[in-house]
Amino acid sequence: MIPLADRAFDAPHLNYGRLSPLLIVFGVALAGVLVEAFAPRRLRYAINTVLSLVGLLAALIAVVLVAGDAPSHHGGVSLGSLEAVGAIAVDGPALFLWGILLVFGLLSVLLFAERHLEGGLTAFAGQAAALPGTDAEREAASRGVEHTEVFPLMMFALGGMMLFPAANDLLTMFVALEVLSLPLYLLCGLARRRRLISQEAAMKYFLLGAFSSALFLYGIALVYGFAGSFQLAAIDTAISARAGATSMLLVGMGLMAVGLLFKVGAAPFHAWTPDVYQGAPTAVTAFMAACTKIAAFGALLRVFYVAFGAANWEWLPVMWVIAALTMAVGSVIAITQTDVKRMLAYSSIAHAGFVITGFVGVQSAAEVGDTQVTSLQAVLFYLVTYGFATIGAFAVVTLVRDAGGETTHLSRWAGLGKEAPVLAGVFAFFLLAFAGIPLTSGFTGKWMVFAAAWAGGAWPLVVVAVLMSAVAAFFYVRVIVLMFFSDPVGDGPTVAVPSILTTAAITVGATMTLVLGVVPQPVLDLARQAGQFIR
């Protein structure tokens, strides 16, 4: 044993410049809490909205600046550096993920801040502590009280999401996982309308989320027991040397995979997804669907490529099965759904399956030619295409309403094309993108992950993926037919007129979905420049 007392304690050196995007986001979150404590009630909404938007823009600029002067290694194959004593990897993939998380965070803030749809109030509970259907709740509504704490909560979640895929040791990764999850549990339970199902969604998400992170933590403990370190590179070295109990490594790896696959919503750990996506306020669903998935896939790729890369014969077959199962479950069960949000949730499960298909493909840049992309780059590109279409689609869902708030039952969407041709057209466009029709981003994204998987020898999986895309296309087209070729039931749905905020989010989502489908090259080049993970 090394005598612990003999070690001198050195204060760690932090390169604040390289960490600035993270620090800005967490700083804005803390400032938001102070605003909640000290600013007068009527000013909080305005201050917090502006603070969040400005903070996210500043963080985005910081990401561009940090990426601009990131050092490059191995002749440009990878770029970036390890910061905070090796705890955080500010490398190409991490910077790319930070960039897209911040862009989707900005779009989500726009949806969170929407006030036109509920008669001058946000879509969040006026007073979460007041029981549904009581005088206290009605009084809160009539006095125009609202929970503007949702903005700092969202910023904390976003900060955790940025830290999660950048974490270069397992302890940082666990802390980041909790920092991103805990605010999301609360946000899920804060809907203004249909509060019972919102609270139920929060409880289900919390209990299952806490369970999965406990499994993840025990996995970390076993991997630490195997390798004697939390650092991903040290775990890689230990696995290459195969010192110690291998069964402990396998169980640890399995438990960590469960935790990460739960967060991405892959079958058989997907059961929470439809319930939580349906019950949560739609703006929160949009944020969760896009950003949590991006962060969790970033972390999944980093852990399995960097730390467990040497043991890939152990985990690749499992990932094959999970990819096929996830695509099948998502696509087949989506057919029977009667609720728009639930259908989109199953669609997001299917998309997780497509991303895992890309994940099992080619892993090293040396194996691919100049025209091809590695799995990592294909997955990064797919996440961009998926995020824009998802936020746009959920933003459309917030606009189709009746007397009781959003009307998400599919039968109420019949004849929407006659009521609001533009909105129905935009939603149809997002659905076509989910289905992967050419000239939408979904096609180019799917093409990339399938190409990476094919080049990596996973052709049976690509065949399954193409089949499942066809099944998925069926239910997307069914919704389009329902919207345009059916007669409305009763009065039909009303389409609320949103403020500039939601309009902007939908416009950006639709534009980017079209642009990435027609000229994907600029974003693809960015993903290519992101290179590989550094160790």
């Binding site: 302890l171 549990y185 209990l207 406990a214 403990a221 370190s229």
Partner: protein, 99 residues
């Protein structure tokens, strides 16, 4: 001193916690079982730290305690709201969302 008994105890606690989450019906008890799983991990962390002769595992245990405390705050808030609305903390009663 052999670390094996400590690891066996940690695995036992973890299994009891996992089983509890899967079979118990009261949200508070389910949540306590999750906490048991976290503490089982702490025991494993400290044992492995002793075995490998470094401090990483012990530090991890502190971080896990802080995270567990934060989780209690959020979790009890959510379970309390559900209980006040429904007058029940059973995970079977909350079943508006399904299929």
């Amino acid at each position: 001193m052999s670390p094996t008994p400590f690891l066996v105890l940690s695995a036992l606690l973890f299994s009891i916690g996992t089983l509890g989450v899967l079979v118990r019906r009261n949200a508070i008890v389910v949540f306590m079982c999750v906490e048991l799983m976290l503490n089982a991990s702490n025991l494993a962390f400290v044992t492995f730290a002793r075995q490998h002769g470094n401090l990483d595992g012990q530090i991890a245990a502190f971080f896990v305690m802080v995270v567990a405390a934060a989780e209690v705050v959020v979790g009890l808030a959510i379970i309390m709201t559900i209980f006040r609305t429904r007058r029940s903390a059973s995970v079977d009663d909350a079943s508006l969302l399904k299929y």
